[in-house]
């Protein structure tokens, strides 16, 4: 089906058909990265600005490579080098970028909703590269792509998402996406990091969402286990006592993974804390698809750029 959106702001507002279109398009772009000359002319003459207000290596690089493999011109702006530190407001930043006529702006920002606000201020397509604890749609799409690639389907799968649910935009976007496609998602983490009303996140989804009392209950019988990064500063905010205790209580070890289905796959949006939320043995095991996620990230972002700014004029 044709993809008619101007922006990709979140998964929540996407239909199942739109999600499937993105995943299918990503499938056809994946092969480009395996070629000797990794470039197609699909977005020649288009400009993509990566506007990052938070540190990021993986996502920013992934978008940059995706744009370049489609022959678009990619420009990176990070907050430390931009005028934002000089006190320029969001609207002025937006208007200045607009004046340079980019076709797409990928934005990452610590405040939820900034991509939505920006989309009302500029004509360029806005791609949410992560907004606070709200959404990270391209991550969820690449996760779904990776799951589909390995399991052949998403419908009916049991997926555990474990860790700092409260601060995780990855968890939110994945919950929306996976349940829309019919997966049964189980959430677990310390109660301090489980926001209230999490069960109410999904509406009219084919799948289901369950908040588990304990991590083992979430992992038991799972087809997919997705671990989330835990940040050290959560400790000083009294969310949990120590990283040691966290890793014992909520970390994914081979022993804990044995509770999952025999062919369970393990995912992590990165960057990982080895030995804290996930043990090295798990990271380096054949079950781990963490690097496949990174590879697929490029294909999925190529698909998103192509669908948003490639259709018209080309």
């Amino acid at each position: 089906m044709p993809f008619t959106r101007k922006d990709l702001l979140g998964i929540r507002e996407l239909s199942v058909e739109e999600i499937t279109t993105i995943l299918d398009t990503a499938g056809s772009f994946k092969e480009v990265s395996a070629r000797a000359i990794k470039k197609v002319p699909a977005l020649r003459g288009k400009t993509v600005i990566n506007l990052f207000f938070e540190a990021s290596t993986r996502t920013r690089t992934s978008f940059e490579i995706a744009a370049k493999r489609l022959s678009a011109d990619a420009v990176n702006i990070s907050a430390s080098t931009s005028s934002v530190t000089k006190g320029e407001s969001l609207i002025d930043t937006a208007q200045n970028l607009q004046a340079m006529a980019p076709d797409a702006i990928v934005i990452r920002h610590p405040s939820p909703g900034v991509p939505h606000q920006l989309s009302k201020m500029v004509n360029a397509s806005i791609i949410n590269g992560g907004d606070g604890a709200h959404e990270h749609p391209t991550q969820a799409l690449l996760d779904a792509f990776t799951i589909r690639e390995h399991k052949g389907r998403i419908n009916g799968l049991q997926v555990a998402i474990v860790g700092d649910i409260m601060h995780s935009r990855v968890a939110r976007s994945n919950v929306h996406l996976l349940t829309k496609l019919g997966a049964h998602v189980r959430i677990a983490g310390p109660r301090t990091l489980l926001p209230v009303g999490y069960e109410g996140l999904i509406e009219n989804s084919e799948g289901s969402l369950t908040v588990c009392e304990h991590i083992d209950g979430a992992i038991a019988g799972s087809d997919v286990v997705m671990m989330l990064r835990i940040q050290r500063e959560r400790m000083t905010d009294a969310f949990f006592p120590s990283l040691k205790e966290y890793s014992i209580q909520y970390g994914l070890t081979l022993r804990r993974l044995a509770l999952a289905a025999g062919d369970c796959i393990v995912m992590h949006p990165g960057p990982i804390n080895r030995g804290i939320e996930i043990s090295s043995e798990v990271v380096d095991s054949a079950r781990s698809l963490i690097l496949d996620q990174v590879t697929n990230g490029v294909a999925v972002r190529m698909a998103i750029l192509f669908l948003l700014i490639g259709a018209e004029g080309s």
Binding site: S111, P112, V196, G197, G200, L201
Partner: protein, 430 residues
């Protein structure tokens, strides 16, 4: 100097009046209410089909002067007040400098007199600079004209300081107004904690952050015997606590804002920063409890918490934008639309909450059309439909969550001391 407001439906809850009559004003005071009054030599105001009520009183307004005149001034806020039918407004002390001493109190009163539009009653700070540490000079502020004390927006966290403030305020006959919010429990929060905050990834403020302070204040009110007024009550739990305290005979009162009566946190979903205020928009369950509180008398007043902010500031990221919305010019329309038309609360009760209800709480003159009272009068069209266009506001600021709303209930004219200070220029569509 005589004004005859003829043929209107006069509603004055202070005297249980609800009748179609004439109202005669002479020398700035109410002369009489009756049929076919002698308008000889009087200026005639035809109020046929309109409601004639005592001038509205708002216990909770931020006028931003001194210090933030780019948001609002005492003059522009007063103009907004009378355009919304408010003839008396209470100015919260969180200006710059804070109204924590008699000279700031006098400055506000002088500026209001200079503007000569609405009656402005300053509310003094509870503590110096509203820092929650040392008591402000309450007695001197009262002498200068302050009508109550509050550290609105910067709640007194230290319970011992609050206890002393209450005891001291009691000595000087001042009502203690509290913005109930535990700043630790609500730290970093920008919206109500619930499904919406979880969905949007915005930090929530739980109801308990308000309720724990309401509970503390009720206990301290009992301990100290002071009159406590809970500002902008917003949760079902707070309403229930006030209801019980009143039943026990405690001298406690509370107010509710039009936006908490009309909106829930669902309005935040589009990240419009004009849905950001403190306390935040709550759940539908809370909103219903507020309406029940209005109906059963637990809630004593409608107060706008008019909080002007410049467009530049409201264009920030949601979590960085300032808290607060303007409310003076939409209060009646929202109250009539939501309370009367959607919830079946009689117009007489709504008028009570805007007039004698608040007047009694801060012992203000006004709120009545009793013979001899100052002729502060609000005339409105209860059925007048209009569309909220913030560009037309008299306020300097435009930060309304009701932009584009179709409201019923439109102010036609406002009189302060018998002098017409506002007259509607556009006729509503209906």
């Amino acid at each position: 100097m005589k004004v005859l407001i003829s043929g209107g439906r006069i509603i004055d809850p202070s005297q249980q009046i609800d009748q179609v009559s004439d109202l005669l004003i002479e020398n700035g005071c109410v002369k009489s209410i009756g049929d076919a009054l002698d308008g000889d030599g009087a200026e005639i105001f035809d109020a046929n089909g309109l409601i004639v009520a005592p001038g509205f009183i708002d216990l909770h307004v931020h006028l931003r002067e001194p210090g933030e005149e780019y948001k609002e001034t005492i003059a522009s806020g007063s103009a907004a007040a009378v355009a919304g039918g408010f003839t008396s407004i209470c100015a919260m002390p969180n200006t710059s400098p804070v109204n924590d001493n008699a000279s700031v109190t006098r400055f506000i009163i002088d500026k209001a007199r200079e503007a000569g539009i609405a009656r402005v009653y300053p509310v003094g700070a509870i503590t110096r600079e509203s820092k929650g540490e040392e008591l402000a000079e309450m007695a001197e502020m009262k002498e200068a004209g302050a009508v109550a004390v509050s550290d609105d927006g910067r709640p007194v966290m230290n319970a011992q300081v609050m206890r002393h403030a209450m005891e001291y305020a009691r000595d000087h006959g001042l009502v203690v107004v509290d913005h109930c919010q535990d700043l630790d429990l609500s730290a970093g929060g920008v919206v109500n904690e619930g499904r919406i905050s979880t969905l949007l990834g915005l930090k929530g403020m739980c109801g308990a952050a308000e309720e724990s302070h309401v509970s503390r204040d009720l206990m301290l009110a009992e301990l100290t015997g002071v009159r406590v007024h809970i500002a902008h009550i917003s949760t079902a739990g707070s309403v229930e606590m006030v209801r019980r305290a009143k039943r026990q005979g405690l001298a406690v009162s509370c107010e509710v804002t039009p936006h908490h009566l009309a909106l829930t946190d669902a309005a935040v979903a589009g990240f419009d920063t004009n849905t950001k205020m403190s306390p935040p928009l709550r759940s539908e369950e809370d909103r219903s409890a507020l309406i029940e509180g209005v109906r059963d008398g637990t809630i004593d007043a409608i107060a706008t918490d008019h909080a002007p902010h410049h467009l530049d500031e409201k264009m920030f990221e949601y979590d960085r934008a300032p808290f607060g919305v303007v409310g003076l010019e939409t209060a009646l329309g929202v109250a009539v639309t939501v309370l009367q038309h959607s919830s079946g609360i009689p117009i007489t009760r709504i008028i009570e909450l805007l007039t004698i209800g608040p007047a009694r709480l801060f012992s203000l003159p006004g709120g009545t059309l009793a013979k001899g009272a100052s002729a502060d009068v609000t005339v409105f069209d209860p059925d007048g439909e209009w569309t909220v266009d913030p560009k037309r506001f008299k306020s300097k600021s435009r930060n309304s969550p009701f932009a584009g709303w179709q409201l019923r209930g439109s102010i036609v004219a406002t009189f302060v001391g018998g002098r017409e200070v506002y007259r509607r220029t556009i006729t509503p569509s209906a």
